[in-house]
C-alpha cells in the first residue's frame, strides 16, 4: 500500500520526520518497505499484512498514527443529506443472495459532466500508484484510497431496467469485464445485474457494458459489503485481482458503506457538477453486529509475561476506537470497531496491547526445561553417512527435487510411477524426481564445463513415487557419483583414475562404518541408465538395497562426458534397517596366526565370490581371513583365464598352529579348487 505523507496530513498531524515515522510504524507492525518521493512528497510503501485490511487506506493509516502519537483524527467533510424529497430518477435494489451480500447502498446522480479531475486529485492518485482516467472514476478511486471502501459507478442510462439485482451468475455465462477480457462465469460467482443481465462482477470488476464514458450524465453509485470468501474465490478462479477484490477478500467495513457513498457524492457535486437524483437506498437485510470480546487483565499477563496496568489497557484500546465496558473485577467487555476484520478472540486484543506496549518492553525469560532432547534416529544415521563419505573425498550435493520429461526418459524410475505436479512453474518442475542419478550427472557435467574433471559427489535426499493408492510418497535415497579420479593426482599417486572398484570400495567402507553386519554386491540384470557390463546390485540381508555401476555409453555420449562416470543409488531405509548393529566383543587370540599366499588360474567367467564362498564352505574354522591380493591376466596365462592370488590367514584359538597343519589346510583348499573348478596352483 502506497501512502503519501502529504495526503496523510489531511487527517492527522505529523511532526515526525519521514525516517522517524518509518521506524515507528515498523514497530507497531506496519513495515515500511521503501520510501520514495512522488510529486514532491514522501510516499511510503507499506507492507500491510492480510489481517489488516483496515490499513489499506490513508484514513486507515492515519487512525494508527493518531493512536500511536495520541493525536486527534480529522475526518473529511461529507454531504450530510443523501436524499431528496422526490426522486427524479427512480431505481430499485434487490439482493437475492443475502449471505454473499449482506448490505448494498446505492445512490443516483444526474447532471454530471465527465471530464478530467483536478490536478491535486490526479497527483494524489498517481502518488498512490493509480492512473487517473476521468473525474467520476477518479473520485471512486480517490475515496477507495482515502477511506478504504471500494465503490463502483455505473452509467445509469445503460442499466436496461433501471435497477440493480445482486445474484449469483448462471453457470457458464460469459461476461466482458472493463479490461476488455471475456470471462466465463460459474454459478458460485456473485454478479450485479440490471434486471436483464450482468453489468459487473460483484466486488471484483465492472462490465464493459456499463462503463462510465465521456457522454455519461447519470450515474448509479454502489457502496456495498460483499463476503470475503466469495470474493476471494471468484478472484482466484478468474485470475483477476483488483483494488476492490483485494479489500473485500480481506474484509471490508460494512459500516463504512454509507460514509463512503456520502464522500463520493460530495466530491461528484464539487468536481463533476452532479446532483442527487435518486435518494440513498440502504438495503441491509442481514444486520451485522460489531464483535464483542471479554478481556481479562490476568490473561494479558499470562500470554505476554508483562504487567499491563488497567489504565494502560483502557487508554490504549480507547485510542484505537475500541469501546470498553467493565465486566467484573479487572475485566472488560470490549466492542471492536467494525473495520477491524481481524478481531475475533481475546488473544487478538492482547496483541493490540502488545503492539502499543512495545514488543521490546516485554521482559525476556527462560522457561525451565520439562522435557528431554530426542534426536531423530534417521538424522543420526544420515549424519554418520555424511561424515564417513565426505571423509573419503566426496562433496555433498543438493539438487532440486523436481524433474522434467527428459530426466525421466534418460533415467527411467527403477520402481513405481512418477508423481506429477498439478501446477508446475516451468517444465523443470513438472514432475518430482524418481532418482538422484539425473541430478548428480548434471552436476558433474556442470563441473566439467568449469574444467573440473575429477568429480566426487554424494547426495542424501528424497525421491518420489506414486503409491498404489495413487497418492505420491517419498523415500530417502543415497546417491554417489565418482568420475575422473578416486583422489587427486600427485607425485605419490600419478594415476588415480576412477573405476567400478573405487565406487564399490567407498560403498563397502560406508556400510562397515555404520555397522551394517553383512552385505553383498552381485551382478545386476538390466538397469536402464547403467552400462550392462559394469552394473551391480547391492544386497543387504535378502533385500535389494540399490544399484551401482558405470553410466551407460549412450548417456555418457549424450552428456559429452568423454570419461566414464560411476553411480550408485541406495535405498536409505534398507541401510537404516540393518545399521548400527551393536558391536559384540570377541576375545583376542593368544596364539600367533599364519599367513599363506596361493595363486590359482581360473576361467575369467568364474566369479571371485563363487570361489570365496566355496572355500568358506569347506568348514575350516581356522581360516579367519581371505584376501584377494592380486589379479593377473596376460602372456603367461592361457587365453580366457585369469590368475588370482589369495592371501589366507589361519588362526587357532587353542594352540599354536604347526607348519604341517597349515599345509594340510592349503592342500585341502587347493584340491577343492582343482576338483571343483578344474584348475590348479600356478606358483606359490
Amino acid at each position: 500500500m502506497k501512502i503519501s505523507i502529504e495526503w496523510l496530513q489531511e487527517y492527522v498531524e505529523i511532526r515526525e520526520s519521514p525516517e522517524k515515522l518509518k521506524e515507528d510504524l515498523s514497530m507497531i507492525g506496519l513495515l515500511v518497505e521503501s520510501m520514495t518521493k512522488v510529486h514532491g512528497t514522501h510516499v511510503l510503501e507499506i507492507e500491510v499484512t492480510s489481517n489488516r485490511p483496515d490499513c489499506l487506506s490513508h484514513i486507515g493509516m492515519a487512525r494508527e498514527i493518531a493512536a500511536l502519537y495520541s493525536r486527534p483524527l480529522k475526518w473529511p467533510t461529507v454531504q450530510a443529506k443523501l436524499s431528496i424529497p422526490s426522486d427524479r430518477i427512480p431505481y430499485a435494489i434487490e439482493i437475492r443472495d443475502e449471505e454473499l451480500c449482506p448490505r448494498y447502498v446505492g445512490l443516483v446522480m444526474d447532471g454530471i459532466k465527465v471530464g478530467t479531475s483536478p490536478d491535486w486529485m490526479q497527483r494524489r492518485l498517481e502518488s498512490a500508484g493509480m492512473r487517473p482516467l476521468n473525474n467520476v472514476v477518479d473520485i471512486t478511486n480517490y475515496v477507495l484510497l482515502e477511506m478504504g471502501h471500494p465503490l463502483h459507478a455505473f452509467d445509469y442510462d445503460v442499466l436496461r431496467k433501471g435497477k440493480i439485482v445482486v445474484a449469483r451468475a448462471r453457470q457458464g455465462e460469459r461476461f466482458q469485464t472493463l479490461d476488455g477480457m471475456e470471462r466465463e462465469l460459474d454459478g458460485e460467482m456473485l454478479m450485479i445485474n440490471d434486471g436483464e443481465g450482468p453489468v459487473a462482477i460483484a466486488g471484483v470488476m465492472g462490465g464493459m457494458n456499463s462503463e462510465i464514458s465521456l457522454s455519461t450524465t447519470r450515474v448509479l453509485i454502489e457502496s456495498a459489503y460483499f463476503g470475503p470468501a466469495s470474493i476471494r474465490r471468484t478472484s482466484k478462479k478468474l485470475g483477476l485481482s483488483t483494488e476492490a477484490s483485494y479489500r473485500f477478500e480481506r474484509g471490508a467495513d460494512w459500516d463504512n458503506t454509507v460514509p463512503a457513498i456520502a464522500r463520493t457524492c460530495s466530491l461528484i457535486e464539487q468536481l463533476a457538477g452532479g446532483k442527487i437524483a435518486g435518494s440513498l437506498q440502504d438495503i441491509y437485510p442481514r444486520k451485522k453486529d460489531p464483535v464483542r470480546i471479554t478481556l481479562r487483565q490476568a490473561n494479558t499477563k499470562a500470554l505476554l509475561g508483562a504487567d499491563l496496568t488497567s489504565e494502560f489497557i483502557e487508554s490504549t484500546l480507547r485510542r484505537l476506537n475500541f469501546d470498553l465496558a467493565p465486566e467484573g473485577e479487572k475485566a472488560w467487555l470490549v466492542t471492536c470497531p467494525t473495520y477491524r476484520a481481524d478481531m475475533e478472540l481475546e488473544a487478538d486484543l492482547i496483541e493490540e496491547l502488545a503492539r502499543f506496549y512495545g514488543y521490546g518492553n516485554i521482559p525476556a525469560t527462560l522457561p525451565p526445561s520439562k522435557t528431554i532432547g530426542i534426536h531423530s534416529p534417521v538424522y543420526r544415521l544420515e549424519n554418520s553417512i555424511r561424515e564417513i563419505i565426505s571423509s573419503q573425498g566426496y562433496n555433498e550435493a543438493i539438487n532440486l527435487s523436481f524433474a522434467n520429461e527428459m530426466d525421466h526418459l534418460e533415467f527411467p524410475p527403477l520402481q513405481g510411477e512418477r508423481a506429477a505436479v498439478r501446477n508446475p512453474l516451468t517444465e523443470d518442475t513438472q514432475y518430482m524426481r524418481t532418482s538422484l542419478a539425473a541430478g548428480l550427472v548434471r552436476s558433474a557435467k556442470r563441473n566439467f564445463n568449469y574444467g573440473q574433471r575429477l568429480v566426487r559427489l554424494f547426495e542424501l535426499g528424497k525421491v518420489y513415487h506414486l503409491g498404489s493408492d495413487g497418492v505420491p510418497f517419498e523415500r530417502n535415497v543415497l546417491g554417489i557419483l565418482g568420475t575422473g579420479g578416486f583422489t587427486d593426482q600427485n607425485w605419490k599417486n600419478p594415476s588415480a583414475s576412477f573405476d567400478f572398484f573405487h565406487l564399490k570400495g567407498v560403498l563397502s567402507k560406508l556400510l562397515q562404518g555404520v555397522r551394517v553386519p553383512s552385505f553383498e554386491i552381485e551382478p545386476a540384470g538390466k538397469i536402464p541408465w547403467l552400462n550392462p557390463a559394469e552394473s551391480a546390485v547391492l544386497k543387504i540381508g535378502k533385500e535389494t538395497a540399490g544399484v551401482l555401476g558405470s553410466l551407460s555409453a549412450s548417456l555418457e555420449e549424450k552428456y559429452k562426458l568423454k570419461q566414464p562416470a560411476y553411480l550408485a543409488e541406495i535405498d536409505f531405509a534398507c541401510i537404516e534397517k540393518f545399521a548400527f548393529a551393536p558391536p559384540s566383543y570377541d576375545p583376542l587370540p593368544k596364539y600367533p596366526s599364519a599367513e599363506r599366499d596361493i595363486s590359482i588360474v581360473v576361467s575369467r567367467d568364474l566369479a571371485f565370490q563363487t570361489i570365496h564362498k566355496g572355500i568358506l564352505q569347506l568348514g575350516i574354522c581356522e581360516l579367519v581371513r581371505l584376501q584377494l591380493i592380486d589379479v593377473y591376466e596376460g602372456e603367461k596365462i592361457p587365453e580366457g583365464k585369469v590368475s588370482l592370488t589369495l592371501r589366507l590367514t589361519f588362526q587357532d584359538r587353542e594352540k599354536t598352529l604347526t607348519v604341517d597343519r597349515v599345509q594340510d589346510f592349503i592342500d585341502t583348499i587347493l584340491s577343492f579348487i582343482h576338483k571343483t573348478y578344474g584348475v590348479g596352483l600356478r606358483s606359490i
Binding site: 492480510s50 496483541e351 501446477n423 518442475t429 573440473q452 505420491p472 587427486d488
Partner: protein
C-alpha cells in the same frame, strides 16, 4: 709423579686432536693402549720403582688415565662413524606435497541443519522427521489457514491434487507434534520446503526451514523472547542483539517478525541491512488458540510459542553468499569452501 701423569694426559690430548682418519686413530690407540708396548702399560711398569707408600696413588691415577683415554677414543670413533654415515644419507624433500588422501565436504546447509538440531536437542526438544509431501490439513487448515484464506497467497503452493501438496513450511510440525505428544511439548522439524517461486539469485522453488513449537503450562511471550535470544546467540554470535516487531502469521497471535543486529556491520548500517542495522531473520509468535483447539490441546490450560526460520537465509548471512542458486548447483568450487 702427578706431574708426569699430567704430562701424559696433555700428550694424549694433542695426539687425539691430531687424529685424521681411521689409520691415525688406530695408531693413537696402539700408542697408548697396546697390551705390551703401550704408553700406559709402560708407565705402569714403573710402579715397582716407586716407594711402597706412593704406589696406590700412582696406580689409581694411571687407571683413571686409561679410562679417560678409552672413553675419549671411543667418542672420537663414534663421531667419525656418525659423520661418515651422514655423508651417505640423502635428505628427503619434506616440502613436497603429502599423499593426496581425499577429503570432501558437507553441504553448508546440511551442516547448519545439524548444528540447529544440536542446539535444540540440548534445550530439551524432540526432533521430528516429517514428510515433504503433506496433506493440506497439516500445512494449512490445521494452522488456521482454511481454504480461501488470503494468507495462502504469500505461500504459492505446488499441489498434486486438491488435498496433497509439497509443504510450504516446516510449521506442519506444530500439528504433528500436538497430535502425537502430550504437553509439555518441545519439538522442531527441519528440511526442504517448496514454493512456486522462480529459480533466481534471491528465490528458489525449494529451500530449507526449521520450525519450532513449545506447548507447556504458563508459557508467555517473554519465554519466547528468552529462548529466541539463546538460540540466536548460539546460532550466530554471543554479541548478537535481536528485536521483535508485530507481524502476522495466521497460526500465531500475537505474531512477531524477528530481526537481528546486522552481522556484517554490527548494526552500524551497511548495504546488507539497507543501512537499518537490522536484518529480518525469522517469524514467531504465541500459538493461536484455534490451532491449539484444533489439535486437541486445552487452550485454557496450555499456551505455547512457535517460530520458523529459513536455514538458507542463515547460511546466506553467515557465509555472505550472494546467490541462493549456488546452494543447489553443486559447483565444487563452491562446495569445497565449506
Amino acid at each position: 709423579m702427578s706431574e708426569s701423569i699430567d704430562n701424559l694426559r696433555r700428550l694424549f690430548e694433542e695426539d687425539l686432536a691430531a687424529i685424521d682418519g681411521m689409520e691415525s686413530w688406530k695408531a693413537v690407540r696402539d700408542k697408548y693402549l697396546a697390551r705390551e708396548s703401550g704408553v700406559i702399560t709402560t708407565e705402569l711398569k714403573k710402579l715397582r720403582d716407586l716407594p711402597k707408600e706412593a704406589r696406590p696413588a700412582f696406580g689409581q691415577a694411571m687407571n683413571q688415565l686409561r679410562a679417560l683415554v678409552e672413553k675419549k677414543l671411543q667418542e672420537r670413533l663414534d663421531e667419525a662413524k656418525a659423520a661418515e654415515a651422514s655423508t651417505k644419507l640423502q635428505r628427503i624433500d619434506v616440502t613436497r606435497p603429502g599423499f593426496p588422501f581425499a577429503l570432501g565436504s558437507i553441504h553448508p546447509i546440511k551442516r547448519l541443519q545439524s548444528e540447529i538440531e544440536q542446539i535444540f536437542v540440548s534445550m530439551g526438544f524432540q526432533i521430528f522427521n516429517l514428510p515433504e509431501i503433506e496433506r493440506d490439513y497439516y500445512n494449512f487448515e490445521g494452522l488456521n489457514m482454511p481454504r480461501n484464506h488470503p494468507a495462502r497467497d504469500a505461500q504459492d503452493t505446488f499441489y498434486f491434487d486438491d488435498s496433497v501438496l509439497l509443504r510450504t513450511h516446516c510449521s506442519s510440525v506444530q500439528v504433528h507434534a500436538m497430535e502425537e505428544l502430550k504437553p509439555p511439548i518441545r519439538a522442531i522439524s527441519t528440511g526442504k520446503v517448496y514454493r512456486r517461486d522462480p529459480f533466481d539469485a534471491t528465490h528458489s522453488p525449494m529451500f530449507y526451514q526449521v520450525d519450532v513449537i513449545v506447548i507447556e503450562e504458563g508459557i508467555t511471550m517473554g519465554d519466547l523472547k528468552g529462548m529466541l535470544d539463546v538460540f540466536l546467540k548460539r546460532m550466530f554470535h554471543s554479541d548478537i542483539r535481536m528485536r521483535l516487531r508485530p507481524g502476522f502469521f495466521p497460526f500465531v497471535e500475537p505474531g512477531a517478525e524477528v530481526d537481528i543486529s546486522c552481522i556484517f556491520c554490527s548494526g552500524k548500517g551497511c548495504p546488507t541491512c539497507k543501512q537499518s542495522g537490522w536484518v529480518e531473520i525469522l517469524g514467531a509468535g504465541m500459538v493461536h488458540p484455534k490451532v491449539l483447539r484444533m489439535s486437541g490441546i486445552d487452550d485454557s490450560r496450555y499456551s505455547g510459542f512457535a517460530w520458523g526460520m529459513g536455514i538458507d537465509r542463515v547460511a546466506i548471512l553467515k557465509h555472505g553468499v550472494d546467490d541462493i542458486r549456488l546452494f543447489f548447483e553443486n559447483d565444487l568450487r563452491f562446495l569445497r569452501q565449506f
